[in-house]
Symmetry: C2
Subunit: 211 residues, 2 copies
Amino acid sequence: MKIQLALDRLKIAEAIDLAKKVEDSVDWIEVGTSLIKEFGVTSIKELKNAFPTKTIVADVKTNDNARYEFEMCFEAGADVATVMGVSPLVTIDICMEVAAHYNKKVMIDLLNTSEQQKLELQKYKDAIFCLHVSKDQQEEAGMANRGTADNKFSVGLQIAAAGGITLESLEQLKATVNPEVVIVGGAITKAGNPSEAAFQFKQKIAEIEGK
Amino acid sequence: MKIQLALDRLKIAEAIDLAKKVEDSVDWIEVGTSLIKEFGVTSIKELKNAFPTKTIVADVKTNDNARYEFEMCFEAGADVATVMGVSPLVTIDICMEVAAHYNKKVMIDLLNTSEQQKLELQKYKDAIFCLHVSKDQQEEAGMANRGTADNKFSVGLQIAAAGGITLESLEQLKATVNPEVVIVGGAITKAGNPSEAAFQFKQKIAEIEGK
């Protein structure tokens, strides 16, 4: 399992400082939606400049205007950009097309998708599918269990998991969802010692995977 | 019917220049999603500064992290902010709560909502409901008909309509959906003479409404 560090609700300089502290322990760096909406595409450019060898995920959460938004992200240096799975399929088609053109990846955020939508989305074999318990669901509704039902989604597809992931939940996550990418935000960024927290995630994953 | 001018795929200075040309004919000014994602919250601030007496709509298309995004928009001067109707209801609850606190409005974008979601969303009596044919649906799928089925949605609720609206489609729109707000982008912003185009919209609406 790779670790995607989600950077949210921070200034760009704070995000870079934080990522510098943990870069040895994380694989991918996510420019969170809040950074993009607060500071614009410069947030993606600055993170890519600071970490040119890391995979940069632009969590742009596209709902429409996919060509414009995805070209903007990839031109700014993103390696992966996100689209909402609840969007019209024509929007996701365009994301896939633009990503193929740039030789980059699409992450489809499954937040609030219906069972029917999850089935339809599985045709995008080259995408990464993100099982997502949203911030609002965690914070306001106290919902942090992504369930095991989503497990059936993973046959042959690339899966990421996001939302309230902690060191303690990694083992169950591996056993149920078995994602290729675990997206970790607050458990690292809000830790007293982010560097130590990230290292523990890396170690725990190595232990779980028997490396 | 009010006219909401949608400003998209422009630099901030271009958006302001364009809005200056048409401000006498439009009621609300929308800072498009593309401006917010490309330039950040400064796009909202600059438009509000340029048009302090206009209603400014921040088309932030929130899917999650509603408190942070809505506070950001309202603090920047937005009078209305948008949330996706396909989001978890807890997210929309937060938008309504933050808007009430700031004495501002929520516009719920109905893009790709199911019939069931449309029914559930009608509990948000203070929101404006935006019937939305997306850019991607228009441009790639050639779909511009929002149908008359949505008409049943409008009983006692505030309705906006968006997506490919032209001078020619206004009369039918009035007869079927009867929105309080018509959201017009390209038909004004891409016109050879935007000022003249906006004036024609204003005149046509006055004619339809018998003023």
